[in-house]
Amino acid sequence: MRVNLLYFASFRDIAGSAEEARDLPEGTRVGDLWRALRSEHPKFAAYPAMPPAAVNHEYVDADRILRDGDEVAYLPPVAGG
């Protein structure tokens, strides 16, 4: 299955792109994908815990199972207002 991964703000700077498609094994959870990103980008490893994550525009927990076509984003600390 394939998900679309979005990066924003400082995470976009770390990842070096705004968006990427990822092929993942069935059953991959939101927490699993975060651990994969940590191993790829050392600066993500500096985060002690998984940042807030969203799937299809809603906040989700780390144990949310990803499905084909999901839009996934890990969110750096928001600063709107």
Binding site: L6, F8, A9, S10, D13, A54, H57, E58, Y59, A73, L75, P76, P77, V78, A79, G80, G81
Partner: protein
């Protein structure tokens, strides 16, 4: 409940009141010329657009459930903003003022907590950085001498 790259028309927002409304509370966030004691030249707001709009709509529904006689509308800017420009506008209308104030205040507090919008501060010396409110307190400001 939307994100816009254009200047917010605050006047238009004020037509939200229903005939039964007696109180309208508006909050405007404005780009300041300093933050945490450092001068600011401009601000770039980046939004996760569809999720930000969904989250603002969720906050509005939540507020209207907590204060059933209140109606809430909110708009947030994205893109590059100069000092003095309105970054966020919230309007809470209600039959009486207590509810309007309470819901408006709760709206801006919740927007700052969960709506996926980020801001990059640009300084007069050319430097810039993404603001992380979890590391700095917006209310623990170093007083500029001439303020």
């Amino acid at each position: 409940m939307y994100i816009t790259f254009n200047p917010i028309d605050v006047g238009a927002l004020l037509n939200e009141a229903r005939p039964s409304d007696g109180g309208v509370c508006v909050f405007l966030g404005v780009v300041r010329n300093e933050n945490e004691g450092r001068p600011t030249a401009s601000i770039q707001y980046q939004a996760y657009g569809p999720m930000a709009e969904a989250e603002m709509a969720r906050i509005a529904r939540q507020l209207e459930a907590e204060w059933p006689r209140v109606r809430v509308a909110m708009i947030h800017r994205a893109g590059s903003l100069e000092i003095g420009e309105v970054s966020v506008a919230i309007v809470a209308t209600a039959p009486h003022r207590s509810e309007a104030f309470a819901a408006c205040r709760a709206a801006i507090d919740r927007i700052k907590t969960t709506v996926p919008i980020w801001k990059k501060e640009f300084h007069p010396d050319g430097s810039s950085e993404w603001v992380d409110p979890t590391k700095t307190s917006g209310d623990r400001v170093i007083e500029p001498s001439g303020d």
